[in-house]
Symmetry: C2
Subunit: 68 residues, 2 copies
Amino acid sequence: MFGSWVPAGTSWENYVKEIQTVERDEKSGDLYILMIFKNGKKSRVKNHRVRSRCPQRLLDFYEAHLSV
Amino acid sequence: MFGSWVPAGTSWENYVKEIQTVERDEKSGDLYILMIFKNGKKSRVKNHRVRSRCPQRLLDFYEAHLSV
């Protein structure tokens, strides 16, 4: 269901519809972001790419899930 | 103990020693970041300024406190 499509440009800030969740890969321990783009594509993307391409959308996600 | 000093430039990424915590202001409901700069200054800064000046350091903080 979640593929690997991502936008071509260096900034994805305006292409993200929603970050659905953040998960840790069981084998590698790496973080992956499950996200939905405005074109309807659902992708599972390595954390470091999301941090560099759309840091503000990732910050939105973390703030929305704060417990404070 | 936490003041309001911040670096002069538009990027603080290399001036941050540590983000200590994120807290919600009881009256306004706004988020504030309690952070320590490399010069030893401890500051309480509005979330939106930290997001724009050092998003990568703020992402570091959230990742370090993930429960996944």
